[in-house]
């Protein structure tokens, strides 16, 4: 075998020899196994990944019959992101009719629950119009974004200013206050959008602000589940483990800081979510094969431990996708096939 053409996690092209490719796959799975205290991929799985990466085709795909549900987070933002000036409803139609979406997501350009609060009526009426003209299931999506509740952008003292000063008690109190504000906003916005007809609510990039972010989301999910037993609730993550910004917050007696996906999903299920979306960070200093072996190891353990559908986050910089604005199809298609077939995903 000649050298394999692949990429680094930042998208740069590299070539790996057979032994280098094997080594990267082995080291990637070992890294995940050590961090998550989960089993590494077995020989057969590593061999399957080896084949995916050594095949010279520019594009690869899953085997017939292995297709999974394809969802799109923040869909209404991404057409405008490339400078195509469509209305949000047109953007949704593009994803529905042109890009093979199995679900849609309606969202506000700020993509956080807090700023939607004062303009909720506008959001509701546009969502209602979108629901009349689209056929496939529609989420309303936003980020918990607990950082937006801290001064100067929010009402709470900023823990990120208090902590470096050693004011740990004050920082923790501020974080607990942030959780209360965020839960209220998430429940209010999600309720309004569900009352307007959305099929589901997607809490996207949960945990971005650490354990407070994750805890607030779990509490909001719990309230919404009691309020709307039929509502589809998806919890998508920001990163592979919950950063401990507070460090002592618990949900159902479990400390949330430091949890990896196979443990996160247990709490997400307990709170009452319908779908869980793990996000495994891409390391830009390592190769795509290293990153995929690692992401598949974490995600497989999570799928095996989950009773609800798992839709892995596979956008820029997560799930083995390089951290680059325009990810190349050789890298994306390999990540897609590998994650679906090795981790046994229910969707992306």
């Amino acid at each position: 075998m000649g050298k394999t053409y692949t990429r680094m996690g930042d998208g740069s092209v590299i070539e790996l020899s057979e032994s280098e490719l094997k080594r990267d796959l082995e080291e990637g799975t070992r890294d995940a196994a050590e961090r998550g205290r989960i089993p590494p991929l077995c020989e057969d799985e590593l061999s399957y990944l080896f084949d995916i990466y050594s095949i010279p085709y520019r594009f690869v795909s899953v085997d017939r019959g292995n297709e999974v549900v394809l969802t799109y987070d923040a869909a209404t933002l991404k057409i405008r992101r490339v400078g195509v000036l469509t209305h949000r409803i047109q953007s949704l139609q593009i994803y529905e009719k042109l890009l093979g979406a199995d679900t849609l997501e309606f969202d506000h350009v700020d993509y956080s629950f807090k700023p939607v609060k004062p303009i909720i009526a506008y959001e509701q009426t546009e969502l209602e119009q979108a629901l009349l003209v689209t056929t496939i299931p529609m989420f309303y999506g936003a980020m918990p974004n607990l950082g937006s509740y801290t001064q100067p952008d929010g009402p709470c003292l900023n823990p990120m200013e208090l902590l470096p000063m050693g004011k740990i008690t004050e920082a923790r109190a501020a974080q607990e206050e942030m959780v209360e504000h965020a839960v209220k906003d998430m429940v209010n916005v999600a309720s309004a959008m569900y009352e307007s007809g959305a099929d589901g609510i997607n809490f996207d990039t949960t945990g971005a602000a650490g354990d407070t972010d994750f805890l607030a989301t779990l509490r909001a999910v719990e309230i919404l589940r009691k309020k709307y037993p039929q509502m589809c609730i998806e919890v998508g993550m920001a990163g592979e483990f919950i950063l401990g910004m507070h460090g002592e917050l618990t949900y159902d007696g479990v400390r949330v800081a430091g949890l990896y996906p196979h443990k996160q999903v247990e709490l997400v299920e307990k709170a009452g979510a319908t779908i869980y979306g793990p996000a495994i960070n891409t390391n830009t200093d390592e190769s795509c094969p290293w990153n995929i072996a690692r992401a598949a190891t974490f995600t497989k353990a999570c799928v095996e431990n989950s009773h609800i559908p798992v839709h892995a986050d596979m956008g820029m910089g997560v799930g083995g996708i390089p951290v680059v604005d325009q990810p190349p199809v050789d890298a994306v298609s390999r990540a897609s096939k590998a994650m679906v077939e090795i981790a046994r995903l229910d969707g992306l």
Binding site: L70, Y95, A101, T135, G315, P327, L348
Partner: protein, 118 residues
């Protein structure tokens, strides 16, 4: 999936591993995950059983386009089929076909019912 560059990510994932959305039965399988919390295997089997097709046909655009036409549950090329169900009408039929509740359909039904009674 988190989406960024639509051509690099959405289009690539769609071709590499997606079910196909309205071109196939992807949206129907997604509805079973969302409404009943089914994992992919169970959701596919449920939809295949309702449509009386094989599981592998669910992602076949030829078979499923004809099926969607026959069942009038919404198609991609609506301009070729004047009078075919679109949007909320298609969802009304999908709710009946899959025997599930669809939130906006229920709300639409309530409103129509109120209007007819008025």
């Amino acid at each position: 999936m988190g989406v960024g560059d639509p051509a690099g990510m959405a289009s690539a994932h769609n071709t590499a591993s997606g079910m196909g959305g309205m071109r196939t039965a992807g949206d129907l399988v997604a509805r079973m995950q969302m409404s009943r919390g089914m994992k992919i295997k169970e959701a596919k089997e449920y939809v295949a059983n309702k449509l009386k097709v094989s599981v592998s046909d669910l992602a076949d655009p030829v078979v499923m386009n004809e099926m969607r036409d026959d069942l009038d549950i919404g198609m991609v090329s609506t301009s070729l089929f004047p009078g075919s169900a679109k949007g909320i009408e298609a969802k009304l039929r999908i709710a009946e076909l899959l025997d599930i509740e669809i939130n906006c359909v229920n709300k639409f039904r309530d409103k129509i019912g109120r209007a007819l009674r008025a």
